[in-house]
């Protein structure tokens, strides 16, 4: 799909606003929320590539995040490798894990719910492993030293992490835009719509799905490094948390699966809902209850997410004009 000129203007303006935002926003808290929105949107986009474009829903997307977090953190704490290099090792390990999980599950023809559940099981398996072996710090977790500097991907102010998350976000959007314009993206969508037909038309469905999960894995790996350097502590329940797996699919489904801006819109809306809910009642769980309802409503009534809502009205308008 070719983005019309008007969309390009929107993207440029959006990017410019995002780049200038730290100069306009004085509140550290608001900048932190924005960082979180971008970060979740980035993770959502990684889920979107396999789930939204290729139609393979995963319930264990967090496994790449956790593996990336451990990779760069262990390289830093045990071997002194600076995270600015470690992040590439994290990307590599994430993609490698994607290759293993993808090869094993797709080769045995797992689809739909079965694929979703096996990814959940892989994430659980890794959580238990991380909890049990020594080099991850086991259940105690890993503490990283606070040593700000670009080569450590640590920053003294929220602005640094804000730009870090913005870079990740922009990369993820660029990947999605590339998918929309490339053969690979068209083949993923073909697989989502009808796998047999895609295979008959010369699409190597196994290879495409494995590539997709590897991209997801690499992206997740980088996210792990980001998290570890921002919060300076990881342990198995954080690194392989079911909640994060759910959040990545949630923002994408709410925003719109298989679209460039779906994850960002979903992340923006859900985090806003969360902040508002927190403003009124600070009891834990409330915003997640709302998330659950939103998920059910979107699945039932808006299968194309909020982006679909926008597109639908636009299409109707075009029809009216015609």
């Amino acid at each position: 799909m070719k983005l019309p000129f008007r969309s390009n203007i929107f993207i440029a303006l959006g990017l410019l606003t995002a780049m200038l935002a730290p100069f306009g926003i004085s509140s550290k808290f608001q900048l932190d929320v924005l960082t979180l929105i971008f970060f979740t949107a980035y993770l959502g986009q990684s889920w979107n590539i396999l789930g939204g474009y290729a139609g393979q829903f995963s319930f264990g997307g967090v496994m790449f995040f956790g593996t990336g977090a451990y990779t760069s953190s262990i390289l830093l704490s045990s071997f002194g490798l600076p995270p600015i290099i470690g992040i590439f090792a994290a990307i590599f390990m994430g993609a490698l894990l994607g290759l293993v999980v993808g090869y094993l599950s797709f080769r045995s023809g797992l689809r739909g719910s079965y694929f979703a559940l096996i990814t959940l099981a892989f994430a659980e398996l890794l959580r238990v492993l991380a909890n049990s072996v020594e080099f991850t710090g086991g259940g105690v977790g890993l503490f990283l030293t606070y040593a700000p500097g670009l080569y450590n991907l640590q920053f003294t102010s929220p602005t640094g992490f804000y730009y870090f998350s913005l870079i990740l976000l922009v990369i993820s959007l660029a990947i999605a835009i590339w998918l929309e314009r490339s053969r690979f993206g068209a083949q993923l969508v073909a697989i989502r719509e009808n796998e047999d037909a895609a295979e008959a038309l010369g699409v190597d469905t196994l290879k495409c799905k494995i590539y997709a999960i590897m991209i997801m894995g690499g992206m997740g790996g980088a996210a792990g490094t980001f998290y570890a350097q921002k919060y300076l502590y990881i342990d198995p329940p954080i690194s392989y948390s079911i909640a994060l797996s759910v959040e990545m699919l949630l923002v994408t489904i709410v925003g719109g699966m298989g679209t460039v801006f779906g994850p960002l819109i979903g992340s923006f809306v859900l985090h806003t809902v969360n902040e508002i809910a927190r403003h009124f009642i600070s009891t834990p769980g409330l915003s997640l209850i709302v998330y659950g309802f939103i998920l059910i409503v979107i699945i039932s009534y808006l299968p194309n997410g909020l982006v679909g809502l926008f597109r639908k009205t636009r299409k109707n308008k075009e029809n009216d004009d015609a």
Partner: protein
């Protein structure tokens, strides 16, 4: 071009296709007919790599493709369509056809121009931006054909592209198939609609209960006692009636 040697396919105890030998030469239109449940689609699926034959060999251009996956077979120049159309439902006609065109190029604008060319051949130019789930049955059949054709095949396997169409639509699609053959593409088709087969094919094979029972020109088939016994007795008369009226 295509040789099928003693292919057998079983499902549990049931022999769906039994020891079938056939061949298709370059430039021909060959048809495979037979009553419902004769094993036609199973044979097609076994040839195109969707099912693994239990015995026998499938040879394309002198090379065995017996255990290749469908996408590899497609790249060797043979592509199939589905009896029950399998469109990429949320994509439009152009995008559907482009998936086929991408088999030969990774360049988007090239794929697009190829897809538009193919759309013209099958007469879908006016439907390019219609999403597939909104197409009529006849248009979906054409879309199946177009997508397959866009992969630039030497041999097209068409699985009942005329089923469910009315006589006018059948005539139109017969013209399209003739046109495709004239561009040098060999065609092997499964068909239920007798009239179309007679008009269209150079040679015909008849399958009954998984076995080939006759082979020859469409006219000689029609007078073959074995065929009349096995096929024209029940299936064909019904099929002709259906083909005439549906």
């Amino acid at each position: 071009m295509l040789e099928v040697k003693s292919v057998t396919k079983r499902f549990g105890g049931l022999v769906a296709v039994s020891d079938v030998d056939l061949d298709v030469a370059k430039g021909e239109i060959v048809s495979l007919i037979g009553p419902n449940g004769a094993g036609k689609t199973t044979l097609f699926a076994s040839i195109a790599g969707f099912l693994k034959p239990d015995e026998g060999e499938v040879i394309l251009n002198g090379k065995s493709i017996t255990n290749l996956k469908p996408h590899k077979i497609c790249r060797q120049g043979m592509v199939r369509t589905f009896q029950i159309t399998q469109p990429f439902a949320t994509l439009n006609t152009l995008e559907n056809i482009m998936v086929g065109a991408y088999a030969n190029t990774s360049n988007k604008s090239l794929a697009k121009s190829n897809a538009e060319r193919v759309a013209e051949i099958v007469g879908m130019t006016s439907l390019l931006y219609q999403t597939a789930d909104g197409l009529t049955v006849a248009a979906r059949k054409r879309l199946e054909l177009a997508r397959a054709l866009a992969t630039n095949p030497q041999l097209l396997l068409l699985d009942e592209v005329m089923a469910g169409l009315n006589p006018t639509e059948i005539d139109e699609i017969v013209d399209v198939i003739q046109g495709i053959r004239n561009t040098g593409v060999t065609i092997f088709l499964i068909e239920h609609v007798m009239k179309a087969v007679v008009n269209l094919s150079d040679r015909t094979y008849v399958l009954n209960d998984g076995k080939l029972i006759a082979h020859g020109t469409p006219n000689s088939i029609a007078s073959d006692p074995a065929v009349i016994e096995a096929y024209l007795g029940h299936g064909a008369a019904e099929a002709m009636a259906r083909g005439g009226k549906a």
